[in-house]
């Protein structure tokens, strides 16, 4: 499986580098060497035991190494999943930043830079070089190494000191191809001291071919800064979405992450939050609604390196059909990270006997003055609650729906963009009713 990519790199590394930026290329050969050593992760690895990527990785995908422009009008294919949301709107088509002159984006506060990673590496090397690859290149992971070798572009956002973005930034990943396609991109987000930003990432597929995406996002949240990261995955069963989100927090910063998978094929979200400052607040939430043969693995780690920080994790899954869910909640509290308060919850509902859920809290605590807890449950819908509703005239189907909806409610409440919260409520309800909840613009859904 790996060999074709190894050969591809060896025979095309010049083209890969030519169509990327020198500062990105600096790390490329090392990443490739690491990929040669590690290969793609398999279920034999402890950190990947709930992710079966073999089939998805065995497809013969095309890569767009020579950056041939993709004929697409993103506005045509993307009718927003979240109408009513006032946002700054940006597109990544497959794995390239897709420049559009959206009039809404002209209102960006002064000093904020949003654009292509490749371009910023060239125009603003001083911003770029201290951050790019700093988190990702330190890790020994096959998917990250692959990304380091093949990613040529991605999304970039810089928010200067004390600048507060008044509206969320919306990043739409559009997958568009006539043949089976692999997208590899690397995003970089920098929030300076005292700044605030919300990012909403939506994944969309346009064509009915096999897609695989390998996306890495590095986020640096400066002192006193607040960052919210929302990810809404609403793709199709032929999509494999392998994403890595690496967040670094400085003193007194606040981070909220909320990853929601409503429709997909295979999803692997690796999320690592490095709490590298004191008095930080960290909240990581997620929700999965899966049926058919969908597979979703959220592998999360929160690393407390410094004292006096709070973190909370809340993940909920509703699985039906033959769906497979996986959750890992790693929590590391370093020896010096005293007064850490860290709470983790993962609750899951299996609607039948064929859906599967595997969950693993993994706590490593080396400090002695901490408050930490974790809880994981796998169960069915509450029969007594269902009967109670039926006894009030509510049909069994509707009662089940209300209960499932209620189950996901606390994750939805952790969406601090009102229009997005309303929309996700609606999409979740539609999804639970078995209706298509996908974007009206997707060809597949029409």
């Amino acid at each position: 499986m790996e060999q074709q990519y190894i050969d591809l790199y060896k025979s095309n590394d010049e083209s890969i580098k030519k169509h990327s930026a020198p500062l990105m290329n600096n790390l490329r050969d090392d990443a490739f060497a690491l990929f040669e050593e590690l290969g793609f992760p398999t279920k034999a690895l402890e950190d990947y035991k709930y992710s079966d990527l073999k089939e998805a990785l065995s497809i013969d995908y095309g890569l767009n190494i020579n950056r041939i422009p993709i004929p697409v009008n993103p506005y045509d294919v993307f009718k927003c999943d979240v109408p009513g949301i006032h946002s700054y709107l940006y597109f990544v088509v497959n794995d390239g930043f897709y420049p559009v002159n959206d009039p809404r984006n002209s209102e960006l506060p002064e000093g904020v830079i949003i654009g292509s990673v490749k371009q910023v590496a060239e125009t603003n090397p001083e911003l770029f070089k201290d951050y790019f690859g700093k988190l990702s290149s330190a890790k020994k992971d096959g998917l990250l190494a692959f990304n380091g070798a093949f990613a040529q572009d991605g999304f970039f956002m810089y928010v200067p000191e004390n600048v507060v973005l008044d509206k969320p930034v919306q990043l739409v990943n559009i997958m568009r191809s006539d043949v089976d396609f692999m997208a590899v991109s690397h995003n970089l987000i920098i929030l300076e001291k005292g700044s605030k930003a919300q990012l909403l990432v939506c994944d969309h597929t346009v064509d009915d071919v096999r897609f695989l995406s390998n996306r890495v996002t590095e986020v640096f949240v400066g002192e006193n800064a607040t960052y919210e990261h929302y990810k809404l995955e609403n793709t199709h069963v032929k999509t494999a979405n392998l994403s890595t989100l690496l967040i670094n927090q400085s003193n007194s910063s606040t981070v909220l992450g909320n990853v929601i998978t409503l429709h997909n094929g295979i999803t692997r979200n690796t999320i690592e939050i490095d709490v590298d400052g004191e008095h930080c607040e960290t909240k990581l939430c997620g929700m999965v609604i899966g049926d058919k043969n969908q597979q979703v693995d959220n592998f999360t780690s929160i690393i407390h390196n410094k004292p006096n920080c709070n973190s909370q994790e809340l993940f909920k899954y509703v699985l039906d059909g033959e769906a497979k869910g996986g959750f890992t909640g790693k929590l590391y509290v370093a020896k010096d990270a005293q007064k850490t308060a860290a709470f983790q919850t993962n609750r899951n509902i299996l609607l039948n006997k064929t859906a599967k859920m595997r969950t693993k809290p993994q706590l490593e605590i080396y400090a002695d003055d901490v408050k930490c807890s974790h809880g994981a449950t796998i169960g069915q819908l509450d029969e007594t609650a269902k009967f109670y509703m039926q006894s009030r005239g509510i049909s069994e189907a509707e009662a089940r729906l209300l209960l499932m909806f209620a189950f996901t409610n606390d994750v939805i409440e952790n969406i601090r963009i009102p229009a997005l919260q309303d929309r996700i409520r609606l999409l979740v309800e539609k999804r639970l009713r078995g209706e298509l909840s996908k974007c009206e613009g997707c060809i597949i859904c029409q």
């Binding site: 109670y388 009030r392 069994e396 509707e398 409610n409």
Partner: protein, 251 residues
């Protein structure tokens, strides 16, 4: 309206009801009393369609329909309401959403359009006053974090919203202080009409000071062994259940 004939029911293979007969007509209030374990709550569960209980013998007809063939939701839509002894907490489902869904399902059954938002809110407001229910409770999740008394009030509130033809109050007085009891009983009395009926299941006579029954039945060992007027309740209060047990066992 309700005719129960020779009803036998069991749970996990253990027979609890052993040939129960009862007839209820519109406008009547029946009290069912009896010692612990007599089958009082089982009767309530069976009438409301709780699947945990198996009916092994007998008939129950409600306005001529075979009640036992109806799903729990259809029983409710036909006009049977059970006030639970232990109301269930449903975190995440708001009272408003819960009640609107229930009311609309009842309306759909009667081929009526869903209720308008204004009408629904007005209805909520009126019925809340009936049981002196706090506005805050209506905005919370169903029964979540409610006190015992609030839960019971909430049951009567739901009863008012759904306007049943037959309400079954299962130990509605348990866990209530005297003020809550008065409020709950007042609610029930205000809802009483000549075209509806209630079965009040209770262990103690206390509730019957407030809700005056037309008939009092004593349930013992799965059967109704004695029936009388409201004075029977007073006699039970005074003498306990032992004399009835002895009477039955002597036969």
């Amino acid at each position: 309206m309700l005719q129960i004939k020779n009803l036998h029911a069991s749970i996990n293979g253990k027979e609890i009801l052993k040939g129960l007969d009862l007839t209820v007509r519109p406008g009547e209030i029946h009290a069912i009393m009896g010692p612990n374990g007599a089958g009082k709550s089982t009767l309530a569960s069976v009438l409301s369609g709780n699947q945990a209980f198996e009916v092994t013998k007998g008939d129950v007809s409600f306005y001529g329909k075979n009640l036992l063939e109806l799903s729990p939701e259809d029983r409710s839509r036909e006009g049977i309401f059970l006030s639970f002894q232990y109301p269930v907490e449903i975190p995440g489902v708001s009272m408003v959403n819960f009640m609107r869904t229930a009311v609309n399902e009842h309306r759909k059954y009667k081929n009526l359009e869903p209720i308008s938002a204004t009408d629904f809110l007005r209805m909520m407001r009126e019925k809340k006053e009936l049981v002196e229910m706090d506005n805050k409770l209506a905005n919370r999740s169903v029964n979540e974090g409610f006190s015992g008394g609030e839960k019971k009030r909430n049951e009567i509130f739901q009863m008012a919203m759904l306007d049943p033809r037959l309400s079954i109050l299962d130990e509605t007085d348990s866990g209530l202080d005297i003020d809550a009891l008065r409020i709950v009983a007042n609610g029930v009395n205000k809802l009483k009409r000549t075209d509806n009926a209630s079965i009040v299941i209770t262990h103690y006579q206390r509730l019957l000071d407030y809700i005056i029954p037309d008939f009092v039945h004593v349930l013992y060992d799965g059967r109704i062994v004695k029936s009388g007027g409201k004075e029977l309740a007073l006699e039970l209060e005074e003498r306990g259940y032992d004399w009835i047990k002895q009477e039955v066992d002597a036969k």
